[in-house]
């Protein structure tokens, strides 16, 4: 009798656990937010340094004091090409503000010549940073492009946007963060 009770007890526990799994599966919604999570959010940005395609040195740490937007890019990636006009508009709008954000393209698995040709054709006069061996991508945990990161003037990572940008998204997010930062 005792062992029968034990079997019933164990079966009940197993049933509850299985039921909980089903509830989680039914209730959970897929993560479709463009604004993505990352352990780096709220942390100091990785200390990355590299060169622009023109050969000028670039060190993220030296950009403290300004809002910095890093856009991970490849000239053959369709979402990167699609979002490019939005980045041009964003850079243009920010250049007219005294506290405007600095935009940088981080080249992902692409060569300088293709990048130069792409920007000559499609516009965008901001700096393009080379990423040899993908060290910058790994430092930010970027596996797929495009990805866009926002870093505040204290050098703290504030936002990660995965996938293709939508109209006005980047500008809105930077404005929200700016308001939050100044309050």
């Amino acid at each position: 009798m005792k062992s029968k009770n034990l079997v019933k007890f164990v079966s009940a526990i197993v049933a509850v656990v299985v039921a909980m799994f089903f509830v989680v599966l039914l209730v959970a919604e897929p993560d479709t937010d463009m604004v993505a999570r990352s352990p780096l959010l709220g942390q100091p940005a990785p200390a990355i340094s590299s060169r622009t395609i023109e050969g000028d040195p670039f060190a993220l740490e030296r950009r403290k004091g300004s809002w910095v937007v890093l856009n991970f890019f490849n000239s053959t990636c369709v979402p990167c090409i699609n979002e490019h006009p939005l980045l041009v508009d964003f850079a243009d709008a920010e250049s007219r503000r005294p506290d405007g954000a600095e935009l940088y393209t981080i080249i992902n698995d692409d060569n300088s010549e293709s990048i130069r040709n792409f920007f000559d054709k499609n516009g965008g006069d901001w700096s393009k940073i080379t990423d040899d061996n993908g060290a910058i991508a790994v430092a930010f945990g970027v596996a797929r492009v495009p990805e866009t990161w926002i870093i505040d003037p204290n050098g703290v990572v504030r936002l990660r946007i995965t996938g293709e940008l939508t109209e006005g998204l980047l500008g809105r997010q930077v404005d929200l963060l700016r308001e939050d930062f100044s309050s």
Partner: protein, 154 residues
């Protein structure tokens, strides 16, 4: 009976000790390439399905492989720290061998708990069967058998 049980117990203990010893035994000094291969074999390629960073030729996997190689060459981080660095960037799903702490420890603890519970239930069942074995025949039993034999012979 008691001796047999002691022998089984000793064998289980010895097997356990050997398993623990074998699992924790260091493989001796490794070359840098062996460290890189071992580390990248334990990391999942973040853009592929079912491939490790060691096997994959994807861009992200190659970038991680380069970063691991760079950190191993720098010699400033242990293997655990390098795995922790990659995990912090790409999330826990990048680890092919789950960690043994927090909720992940259930992956290791549950099978052991189930095995221990199953063994306990088996031993309980065997003990019960042993207790229920027919004991020596009583006088009444012998009388019944004797009568039955008499009837058969007559």
């Amino acid at each position: 009976m008691k001796t047999r049980r002691s022998v089984w117990l000793a064998m289980f203990l010895l097997a356990g000790v050997l398993l623990v010893f074998g699992a924790n035994r260091g493989g001796g000094p490794k070359t840098q390439q062996e460290r890189i291969d071992s580390l990248t074999s334990n990391l999942a390629c973040p853009t592929c399905s079912g491939e490790s960073v060691f096997e994959s030729r994807a861009v992200a996997a190659e970038a991680i492989r380069s970063e691991v190689a760079r950190q191993v060459a720098a010699g400033l981080r242990t293997d655990e720290e390098i795995l922790g660095f990659i995990e912090q960037r790409f999330g826990g799903q990048v680890l092919l061998v789950p960690r043994a702490d927090g909720l992940d420890s259930l992956v290791w603890a549950l099978p052991v708990a189930v095995a221990v519970f199953s063994l306990f239930m088996l031993f309980s069942a065997f003990a019960k069967w042993r207790d229920n074995r027919p004991s020596a025949p009583s006088n009444d039993d012998e009388l019944i058998v004797a009568r039955a034999l008499d009837e058969r012979e007559s």
